[in-house]
């Protein structure tokens, strides 16, 4: 191994050597700089390899040939190697990125860059307190120098930011220097490990000395509110420099603080936690109203480091996991933030929506997605593993308030990051193109690669199943590499892949899982048939869709809570990208991801509390939970799952998300994705069963929620003008029914819920495809603009007709079977009142279903639609498959339900059904599907024939055979019969569908925004105020820690 001292020596030597090179030989100077940085990187990488792979032990490096405390010593261990590698690599890549700038500025700027990198390595390596001070001051000077050189816009803004930084760092250095010297005075040594050995911190004077060192290093981490200067630097400096400042400086300083905390001992951990969590939440909150990209990244950087500080402060309970968690969060932050800052240099405008220029470049979009997923702690990146363990351990020690704050902060961060992504994909791109030059793009993609590689490393280190080795996920990710193929090829690969996976895994499912597996894998493949109608390459569609399906498949296969949660996150991200593809879907996709992540955090916390610290926690073990934890876990998990099924109160994301999605995406996210929530509920109810919280039966509460969801979902559906929105609201109602069945907690209720699962998949996919096909042809989704399409689009008509018969639950189709079981189930239970509500929901469904078929297919054909054709073949084909499936399922419901019925007997022995050849009996009656089909068929044919007979002489009314009382209507469409179809009902029941819930969530968002907007005025831009903030921060922390 090369002595780590050469990292410092090489930088110094190169910097001095630069002084000897003639000013005009800039190419040579630049080469020397790159070589030095590459050498430093190589040394660190060699050490990291030695520690991680060869198992070398930590090395002490003595300078001046003497052991400490008589000389400075450095230490090279695993952590030091990793961090110096991070610092040196960031320095090297930034130097590459800065090629033009450095060549223009000359050797002085290069020397400063070298010194900055060296000083940061010094902070990491040194074990001497005064040496730490020296390296900190070197960092300050080098940082100041770099800002001076790197005034990005040449407008002097970076200059003022740099000066503000110097003011604050002067104050900080006074504290650090005094602290180090007094610490030396008390302990007689400057060696950090030597100080650690003594109990001096208990002495009053020692505590003050330590406090001064501590607060100075904390201040370098930009704690709230003493961080205005850092934000200004992030906003104004050159992005390559901000990358160093955010990724490398923060990492080095965090490590320095970690060394100091070793001296301070357990007493100082709460201080670190307090400062950290306050910074995390406040900075994320303040980032919400930001419109400048780099300032937003600055807030996010500060927040992330706050979180790392919080983790360090929790060392007392995190124990040996501290490094795994802290490093997981730190490298996620560093890699992603460096990447994002580099990326920001490619974009000309500074507004968030100016980034939409990268939307045309799939690789850059992929880079951006990688970075925001890393920052949001999504799988398979290190932050995800870190977050999981952090939450697990916090929950097991009962630090729930801290846990809640962390999750709230993380949710806000994810919200503004994904909002930004929405802007990129959906907003109008400005005129300037992306500046894509090799030396600027290279660092970005090194960061992307590092992100994925680190995800793999953390997966290996975690001791759990490495997510990046999961077959479904690998299959989904492989579409990233195949994205250059035409869509139909990818579609075929996807269909074959999903079918094969189902074929291979088929024997392993129990009947319950099998139903979901069929819907997800086989059903998903059928839905994908519709995607053959798309042309071109359809970039981004298949990775997203397959990620969602991979998540769904992994969800069913999951046996432990970790796998379950990871799958849940995968399906959420995948479906988010899918939904975002719709034309107008930007706000809806955002509300979807926020609700989903919020729900996911509830699930995460619920699992963590249930696990009570155990490393591997099987979902089965939920069964053993007892009071008083059990009902809380139950409630949290149920709320999490209900955000996916869109129960009332958390349903507002669904209508927009499903309606605005592309034609073939709507059936995926409605027919298939919603089932994930139901699967979760089933798993939850099967394991935990009935729970009581303060004497309230929680399944009873669920019952009420479900009944109201069904009722209001249906009611809202009848007032929609937009056909896809109508179907979306109808899904809310349908999920209410299914949830109701589950919450009944009896045999028939569950059977009914499963019937709904199957039926809803078939008919909702079919209806969405049919309506989507019509919308594609007519160019509108408003039903009153359609009409009379029955003869032009006969197949779509048949699909909708069959669909609404099935949904409404009238005989002879399978919907009736569902209803029949449902009514039997209700008779079996004792909950009368919610039953009444859900009964009322039934007729309401008739109203919107009738409207659907009437307004679109019956009535008068509009002039402009006389030429339209049937929907494309590939959209009609799956519909026809569904029609056949519905008919088969209607006549032979036993093929699916019989096995499930037997399986359910294990959990609910009472009240199963009797299955004769073609007759199903319950305690209250029997149902003979074949007989019903024949009876209805005969009645239908008779009536139809009679109708044809009497209709012979009917006179055809021509379309313009209408008079508007000699007036031309102001808005012709409002005179259309189909417009505001159910006006009288709206008059009577409209008060129930006022957007209360939307207003509540809107108000909450507004409150957060205005709080943030008001509070960030704290950073008034004046350097003196920032210095004052720091002094006030010192005083407050002092009194909180020592003053009492």
């Amino acid at each position: 191994m090369v002595n780590a001292l050469y990292i410092i020596a090489a930088a110094m030597a190169a910097a001095f050597f630069l002084g000897l090179i003639k000013e005009d030989k800039r190419g040579l100077a630049y080469t020397v700089t790159l070589l030095a940085l590459a050498f430093m990187t190589w040394v660190s990488a060699g050490w990291l390899w030695a520690f991680a792979v060869d198992g070398v032990l930590t090395v002490e490096i003595f300078t001046a040939g003497t052991e400490p405390p008589f000389a400075i010593n450095l230490r090279m261990g695993l952590a030091e190697a990793a961090l110096t590698l991070l610092v040196n690599l960031t320095g090297l890549l930034s130097a590459i990125y800065l090629k033009d700038t450095l060549l223009e500025l000359g050797r002085r700027a290069m020397a400063v860059l070298l010194i900055a990198t060296m000083a940061l390595c010094g902070i990491i390596l040194t074990r001497d307190a005064f040496n730490l001070f020296v390296f900190f001051e070197l960092t300050v000077i080098a940082t100041g120098g770099l800002i001076l050189f790197s005034d990005a816009n040449d407008d002097g803004r970076a200059l003022s930011a740099g000066f503000k930084y110097l003011i604050v760092s002067q104050v900080i250095s006074v504290f650090l220097l005094l602290g180090v010297l007094f610490a030396y005075h008390v302990t007689g040594t400057l060696n950090i490990d030597g100080m650690n050995g003594t109990q001096w911190a208990l002495l009053n004077g020692g505590a003050i000395a330590f406090f001064m060192m501590f607060i100075a290093v904390v201040a370098e981490l930009k704690p709230f509110p003493a961080n205005g200067w850092a934000l200004d630097i992030y906003e104004s400096a050159h992005p390559a420099f901000s990358a160093i400042f955010s990724a490398a400086s923060s990492a080095a300083t965090v490590f320095a603080l970690d060394k100091l905390l070793l001296i301070g001992g357990a007493d100082w951990l709460p201080v670190a936690t307090g400062v950290g969590i306050l910074t995390f939440v406040a900075s994320n909150l303040f980032a919400l109203p930001q419109t400048n990209d780099r300032r937003l990244l600055g807030y996010s950087s500060i927040a992330q480091i706050g979180l790392v500080l919080t983790v360090l402060g929790q060392r007392d309970i995190l124990g040996e996991s501290t490094e795994f968690i802290a490093f997981g969060l730190l490298v996620s932050h560093s890699v992603a933030k460096a990447g994002l800052f580099w990326l920001s240099g490619l974009v000309a405008g500074r507004g968030l929506s100016d980034w939409s220029v990268i939307a045309k470049r799939p690789l850059l979009v992929f880079a951006f997605v990688t970075f925001i997923c890393m920052l949001s702690g999504l799988p398979p990146f290190p932050g995800f593993y870190a977050k999981w363990d952090l939450v697990r351990l916090l929950a097991s020690e009962g630090r729930l308030a801290l846990l809640a704050l962390i999750l709230i902060g993380a949710l806000i961060e994810a919200a503004y990051l994904f909002r930004w992504f929405g802007y990129i994909i959906k907003r109008e791109a400005p005129a300037e193109a992306v500046v894509c030059v090799a030396h600027k793009v290279l660092p970005v993609f090194v960061a992307v690669f590092a992100g994925w590689a680190l995800g793999f490393v953390w997966g290996e280190l975690s001791g759990r199943a490495n997510l990046l080795l999961a077959i479904p996920l690998l299959f989904a990710l492989s579409f990233l590499l195949l994205d250059w193929l035409p869509a139909w090829v990818k579609n075929s690969i996807a269909i074959v892949g999903m079918s094969t996976f189902f074929y291979l895994t088929y024997p392993g499912y129990d009947p319950l899982q099998l139903i979901f597996a069929i819907i997800i894998l086989v059903g998903g493949a059928i839905t994908l048939l519709a995607s053959y109608s798309a042309h071109g390459r359809r970039v981004g569609f298949y990775p997203s869709a397959m990620l969602m399906y991979a998540g769904l498949a992994m969800l069913i296969h999951a046996t432990d809570t970790f796998g379950f949660f990871a799958a849940w996150e995968f399906l959420t991200i995948g479906s988010y990208f899918l939904i975002l593809r719709g034309k107008e879907s930007e706000p809806h996709a955002l509300s979807y991801i926020i609700f989903s992540l919020g729900g996911a955090f509830m699930i995460l916390a619920g699992f963590a509390i249930a696990a009570d610290g155990s490393y591997h926690y099987l979902i089965e073990s939920l069964r053993q939970l007892e009071q008083p934890v059990a009902p809380w876990v139950f409630a949290m998990l149920a709320i999490g799952f209900m955000t996916k099924t869109a129960a009332i109160g958390v349903h507002i994301w669904l209508p927009g998300a499903h309606a605005e999605a592309e034609t073939d995406v709507s059936p995926m996210v409605s027919g298939i994705l919603l089932k994930a929530g139901l699967y979760g509920m089933m798993v939850l109810l099967l394991t935990m069963g009935k729970q009581q919280l303060y004497g309230v039966e929680l399944t009873h509460v669920l019952l009420w929620i479900a009944a109201i969801t069904a009722f209001l979902g249906n009611l809202m559906a009848i007032f929609q003008e937009d056909a896809k929105r109508l179907l979306a609201y109808s899904s809310i109602g349908q999920m209410g029914y299914a949830l109701f069945g589950l919450a009944l907690m009896n045999h028939l209720g569950w059977l009914m819920a499963l019937m709904f699962v199957i039926n809803h998949y078939i008919y909702k996919s079919m209806l969405f495809l049919a309506v989507g096909g019509v919308a594609k042809r007519t160019g509108t989704r408003d039903m009153y603009k359609m009409g009379g399409l029955i003869t032009l689009m006969p197949f779509s008509f048949v699909a909708v007709l069959i669909g609404i018969i099935a949904v409404s639950g009238v005989p002879p189709l399978s919907g009736f079977g569902g209803r029949w079981i449902f009514y039997n189930a209700i008779l079996d239970s004792d909950y009368r009142l919610p039953m009444v509500v859900i009964f009322l929901a039934g007729p309401i469904a008739f109203l919107y279903l009738f409207r659907l078929i009437y307004a679109i297919f019956l009535g008068q054909l509009k002039d402009e639609f006389r030429q339209i054709k049937e929907a494309p073949f590939w959209i009609v084909l799956p519909q026809m498959i569904y029609v056949v499936l519905l008919l088969i399922f209607a006549v032979f419901p036993g093929i699916a339900l019989r096995r499930v019925d037997e399986y359910l007997t294990r959990f609910f022995p009472e009240g199963g059904l009797g299955w004769a050849t073609n007759q199903i009996t319950s305690n209250y009656g029997y149902w003979n599907p074949v007989a019903i089909m024949i009876t209805i068929g005969v009645i239908f044919c008779t009536l139809f024939a009679w109708l044809l007979f009497v209709n012979r002489k009917a006179q055809k009314v021509k379309q313009f055979n209408i008079v508007f009382s000699a007036e031309r209507p102001f808005r012709p469409e409002t005179t259309h019969f189909a417009w505001n179809f159910f006006a009288p009902y709206r008059k009577a029941l409209g008060f129930m569908v006022q957007p209360f819930v939307t207003r509540f969530w809107g108000g909450l968002t507004e409150l957060l925004h205005s709080t943030a907007d008001f509070s960030r005025k704290l950073y008034n831009g004046n350097g003196q105020t920032y210095a004052f903030h720091f002094l006030a921060f010192v005083v407050v922390v002092f009194f909180m820690r020592l003053g009492v």
Partner: protein, 118 residues
């Protein structure tokens, strides 16, 4: 004696901070920080002082054999030199900034450099 120096040092630090926080002129702020730094250096020297001992110079006056008992702690004295050097570096950098800032806006008022905020 040592306590007097230390007290003076702290008073200088406070004067420096007060000056830096109340003067809006960049140059005055820099001078104020220099005063605070001087205070810090005094405090450091005072920390190393031991009553009744001599300077840590080992020559004919103090033999190496009994130096441990006769000289004051040399470490803070060595450190203060480093601190002074660093202080000079930072002050020079701040002056360079003040110069550049004055060039950009023709003013030295810190209150005029607040375009970056919130």
């Amino acid at each position: 004696m040592a306590y007097l120096v230390m007290a003076t040092g702290f008073i200088l630090i406070l004067i420096g901070f007060y000056g830096a926080l109340t003067n809006r002129n960049l140059l005055r702020m820099i001078v104020a920080f220099t005063i605070a730094n001087t205070g810090v250096h005094l405090v450091i020297v005072a920390i190393g002082y031991m009553h009744g001992r001599t300077a840590p110079i080992i020559d004919s006056a103090v033999a190496a054999s009994d130096a441990v008992l006769r000289i004051i702690d040399p470490v803070p004295q060595a450190l203060v030199l480093t601190a002074i050097v660093i202080g000079v570096g930072v002050t020079a950098l701040m002056l360079a900034y003040a110069y550049k800032l004055y060039e950009s806006k023709r003013t030295l008022d810190i209150g005029k450099f607040t375009e970056l905020k919130w």
